[in-house]
């Protein structure tokens, strides 16, 4: 299954880029801000999918890395008047360094214990956001964060910000895909199935786990900083345990070990509540039902559905030329 997915990404990428460019011109303006949020969640879930879907390590505290970077960049640019790009860089570095410090002891844990360890970390960071009032302004939130500006340009409209966010999504998607199809990607998937088999083949399991943990925190950090400079107001509620589980849901619903799935899950679960607003009293019921039905009929997640659509489209484009010439396929 994975090999089919890995082989067909060149036309997929072109389609993806086209969809990113076309979406703001085809959809009502209101959707631009929804899609910006969806793009931030797509970055989060791609990072978490590298950790969870590929390497098989659960994190229930990923919102902490999202929040650390959002707060760091928010505080540095607001209180200390740093330029926004410097604030973002500092935020991302903070998330990555924290992940390295947390990951080295935590990743020795397995399964439920790793879930509990990362959950505990997420809760601690959430409490710090609430209690370190002098820095974070506590539960009332940090206000007056500047919008993103770089090279003398302020990205003040939603359309401009949409392209910043989804340009970043695209770039991070390509980088993640390149990783997945490398010796490191294979090593991560090997660790997922059998740590002992991976290690006796020369894979340094502890080092690779730490690397992917840090990388997924860096993804979360990028999303967090972009979030802070989009909404210009942040409060601890956005980085609670609920946010962590939301990203996990996006990964699982989208499809484990699929980058397309991570994007699809993030967009789907961000846009769905907007549609369900029309039936306000029943929205939670319908939301739950859609989750259950999706997992029931698409156990491989939305990626399965996306994959079917893409391969159908690909075969239309190719016409009668039989699906041949893919990498990894030699009959």
């Amino acid at each position: 299954m994975s090999s089919i997915r890995e082989t067909s990404s060149a036309p997929g990428l072109a389609l993806f880029a086209a969809a990113i460019v076309a979406a703001p011109f085809l959809l009502p303006d209101y959707y631009q801000s929804v899609l910006i949020v969806a793009g931030l969640f797509a970055i989060l879930s791609m990072g978490l999918n590298l950790l969870m879907g590929y390497a098989g390590q659960i994190s229930l505290g990923h919102a902490a890395f999202y929040g650390l970077s959002a707060y760091a960049s928010g505080i540095l640019t607001t209180t200390f008047h740093w330029p926004v790009p410097a604030g973002i860089a500092a935020g991302v570095v903070l998330s990555g360094v924290t992940a390295a410090l947390i990951g080295i002891p935590t990743l020795k844990l397995k399964g439920h214990y790793l879930a509990m360890g990362t959950l505990g970390f997420g809760v601690i960071v959430y409490i710090v956001f609430n209690e370190a009032v002098a820095l974070t302004a506590g539960p009332s939130g940090l206000t007056g964060i500047p919008r993103l500006s770089a090279f003398g340009k302020i990205f003040s409209t939603d359309r401009e910000y949409y392209f910043v966010v989804w340009g970043t999504v695209f770039l991070l998607f390509v980088l993640a895909r390149n990783l997945v199809r490398s010796r490191m990607g294979r090593a991560l998937r090997a660790i997922h199935t059998s740590e002992s088999a991976a290690s006796v083949l020369g894979i340094d399991v502890a080092r690779y786990k730490a690397f992917v943990f840090v990388l997924s925190a860096v993804y979360a950090g990028i999303a967090g900083a972009l979030y802070a400079h989009f909404v210009t107001f942040i409060s601890p509620g956005s980085f609670s345990f609920h946010a962590s589980t939301q990203v996990v849901t996006m990964v699982v619903l989208g499809g484990m070990a699929s980058l397309w799935g991570a994007v699809a899950g993030a967009v789907f679960l961000t846009v769905l509540p907007e549609w369900l607003r029309a039936i306000e009293d029943y929205d939670i019921l319908v939301y739950g039902a859609i989750l259950v039905l999706t997992m029931r009929f698409l156990p491989g997640g939305l990626a399965e559905g996306v994959e079917r659509v893409l391969s159908a489209l690909a075969s239309i484009f190719r016409g009668k030329a039989k699906a041949s010439g893919g990498e990894g396929k030699k009959p």
Partner: protein, 257 residues
Amino acid sequence: MTGRASYFSGEGITLRFGGVTALRDVAFSVSEGTVHAMIGPNGAGKTSLFNVITGLYAPDSGTVRFAGASLSGLPPHAVAQAGIVRTFQNLEIFTNMTVLENVLTGAHLSAKYGPFDFFLRTPRYFREERRLREEALAELSFVGLEGDASLPAAQLPFGSQRMLEIARALAAHPRLLLLDEPAAGLNIRETSALGELIRKIVARGVTVVMVEHDMALVMDISDRVTVLNYGEVLADGTPAEVQRNPAVVAAYLGEED
């Protein structure tokens, strides 16, 4: 056991799990380019010995030496870097990958490119991946799985999964290959093919140490045999010597009278 330093040897290896002594003062010596079998009844400590050699278990005492260097305290991945690669008695196939990807994962150490190359897809990345692919396909045809490269590994029949594990181990370019019960679950035809395959592996210059219960296979292809019983070395010698050893006969068949 002779005076000269041997290629691969263990000395005084003791391994305890709480009150149970899995290995007691075990010693062995393997010459380069040979097939060396470790045999013994179930629970004799053979797989435990493999786990000690590959760094999965830390022994309470004793040392393992390979090509002049001590392996003591090395983690599993460093043992692999030193040139020792193993297969598992209870298959440890990467079931989330294709057959080819399993072998490519085995080639992890021989892939000479880093994060810079794969993130930015440098020419080196493509060159190395192409080379790895060719090597992996060559290993697959070496073990007779050339037609199955793109299949999900989980779909292979059991006997083929055993061969896949061997191909995956060979892709790591081992100097010493440890096979843990490679014939377990194989039928007679597959077992004799396995014997041929092991000879071909030795012909490539790889030293083979195997744990095996199939005595016909052991006696047929081994240059030397070490017999373990209750975690201790009971006998050591050529297949013919071991077969004549009264203690070995007693351990396998029970005492007369």
